[in-house]
Amino acid sequence: MLTAQSSLGIIFFPAFDWAISPTHPEREERLLYTQDQFREEGIFDIEGIREYRPLVAEEKDIMRAHFCFPSVQSVCTDSHFISAGGVIRAAQLVMQKERQRAFAVVRPPGHHAMRTVHGSRGFCNINIEAVMIEWIREHYGNLRVAVVDTDCHHGDGTQDIYWHDPDVLFISLHQDGRTLYPGTGFPSESGGPKALGRTINVPMPPRTSDEGYLMTVERIVMPILDHFKPDLIINSAGQDNHFSDPITNMNFTAQGYAKLTQMLKPDIAVLEGGYAIKGALPYVNLGISLALAGVDFSAVQEPDLDREKIREQKSTIDYLSALCDQLPDIYFNPRPSEAVRENGYFVRRRSIYYDTDDITETQVERLKDCPHCPGLLIVESETAKTPKSLGLHVPVQGCDMCSQEAEERFVKSRQAGFAHAQISDRVTKRYEYAK
């Protein structure tokens, strides 16, 4: 009888009745073979590994992390509420100490969903990690959290949500944005003016395999984590770095993912992308689960693996080695902010494209340069479909003054010409739309 060294809760929710469209990669079939593999391997017969069903997230859970325009219901299907509820369940298991670790193997994924949501970007509507982290901070106080995003795509949504948050460290390892969607995630993106060095981006060259990937984790991620000393480590465990993934160009393996997990020791792992649903997901999910539980994973291997064929070239290793030398400096010695200041606010003017839903959003983001807290966040947002909308977010570390200003702006939002307005005050726990 096999026994887990760390008790593990797996929330397996394949959403067998939901798809973006019949031939879309994010479809019903996606976790089918993972379920087959889990069942055939008898993973839930291992002493200490248990399966749990997801909760259903509530609107306020979503509103803690997002501005949804015109409403939460308009951008979330039932499957999004359940997927978000699945990661909340994972957090609950760990926070209530029912399990030492948890793995939310749920879909749809979420790490491209930014603070403001008008629809789907990169198959994501709701940032399920952010929803979970904010649920944790609502119920257990302001913990220091590290999110390590190992999806092959840059976790631009998570980066956006935590851009101004000094208590959430966001590290994304991904295929170089010059070669892959969403085209962002460069070392220069290192956090907002109040959270400098709290965002670390590691762009990796195409065809990086186990050696290069694990070296990067060891030399960049681990020292930063050791220094940051988070209360919780979250792994956005996207599985599309796999050598067989159809929409990316990396050469990572199931063994690599398992070793990464063993090194990182995340408290909670959350499945993100990964669309080699027959050749990669069953093996990678198995490897990660066993590694999380501290069960021997050395015999987990893809049937068609040819190590020599996917090994990285020396030039790739050399390039990564140079990155490993330079990147930690972004965290340890952040450069001064180049943010634009206008009347006591830091301002970003942006246009955001929602590729899955073909929406273009125009956005002005203002962060109050508050002397007492990370500052009130004010977002003005507009699309061809949704007229001018206002989002007000008082951070969990927020002060009374910011809270008060948010309230005043919220009350006057109609007069100020906004069609929709949402307030998310983490201090007063007020999550509402203007009527």
């Binding site: 009888m1 096999l2 055939e40």
Partner: protein, 553 residues
Amino acid sequence: MLIGIDVGGTHTDGVCIRDGRVEAMAKVPTDHDNLLATITEALRAILKDCKSAEIRTINLSTTLSTNAIVTGHTEKVGMFVIPGPGIDANAYALGNQYHILSGCVDHRGAISAKVRVDQIRPMAARCREEGIRVYGVVGKFCTRNPEQETAIAEALAPQSDFVTQGHRVSESLNFGRRISTVYYNSAVWRTFNAFADALEQSLKDLNIQADINIVKADGGTMPLKLAREIPVQSIFSGPAASVMGILSTSPVTEDALILDIGGTTTDMAVLLDGVPLLERDGISIGEHPTLVRALKVESIGIGGDSFISSRDGQLRVGPDRHGPCMAAGGPAPALMDAMNVLGHAAFGDRERSAKGIKEVAMIQGLSARECAEQAVSLAMDILKKRVSAFLTAINARPVYTIQEILEDRVVRPASILVIGGPAVAMVPLLEETFGLPVVAPRHAEVANAIGACLTRPTQSLVLTVDTSRGSFTVPGLGIHKTVKRTYTLEEAVHDATTLLRAELDRQGIPAEDGDIQVIQADAFNMVEGHYTIGRNIRVRCQMRPGVITTLAS
């Protein structure tokens, strides 16, 4: 005329039922060293009241295989497994001739590494030297493609009396469980077949020409001929017989809780819309989980003989039993004695009950009545807590579709059905404790035998189709063929139910239209690049567990 026999731990019960009426009953002590003699004795007792020529069917629930396993009287098995990559197959090793072969079948049923039949030669030689005559062959994902298993089984045939192949014991996925299921199947094969031979001879001697069925743990029966191939399916069928006994004496169509209150323990089970709930994967044999389908039954350490004591100044009830209750001549006060003192029951020697309870009461500084009251209420509390935890666990079981999550079908018993010795006396107490109507069916004393008698055969079938590969697989029936790319889910549902019906016909099992139940019917588009290359279709259907008829009221 139907006969049902339930071989229990203490007694073996038999009933004869004709047209929904009990015509004869028998109760004889079980001789575990000679089950056949016990069964024959029960049959003889029944035959006093009914004619052997009129017996059409005999359903038997026996502890034979279970005992063989529990007492370690099993045969040595040579195991050959084909794991491929994954969890280390050594974790599932059983017996000292456990051999891991190369070769690999992936989750689609594609062979990604060929098993080398010549590889087994030295291993097979070692098994021969040890005198091993029964074998088990198990491949990972063999239910998707049994080719490699069959090749190894054929290679072992010359030196074996019997080989169990993984894909024949269950259609479900779970490699580790399949290994233990196959192992135990081969380990009890000879014992079971020797018993079956003797049983058939004995029936001939009694002039009985009837179909013989064996009760399974899932609350169904299987023909003896099939049981000879898969004897492991007959393990732990006792609790199933009692659940089916309740179903056949008091028909239920709603959610209900079943409590079988015995001397030492109370077994609980649940009916969902009147249909008993099954374990998701299968029952465990000791530390080894298997794929043997079983009703979901859990035991609570509370029964009529639960020992009442005062330890560390605290009154306790159960979970241990120190022989029968004092009213029945036992050495120590038990729950039934407390019931006697309170007037809930009038069982055996009530004066002995009073004496026993008084002794405990003195230590506690209570009157006998107070002490009995506290003991009974303690027992009810334990029952209530355990039932509630049982239901919570059932209601928390994982589901995999949005619809299921949103519907959230919660099991909420509307009534409680009780059987077992102390059950009748406890009815008012249980009603008060649970706030639900409690029913004790008639013939509770031989409910297990009635259950065995009236229980229907069950059979399930899984059909998987991959239209991109054109593969059509029904592992349970050994069907592996090709289909055209346009094959649909509707065709699959039709084929699966037709195949199951044909198989039931072949086994001479009558099935009406409503008896065959489709429990899963899914079709997943399989996409490669941006094109749909086919559909992955999975259909699972079963003969609904149930009873042939209910007793006439």
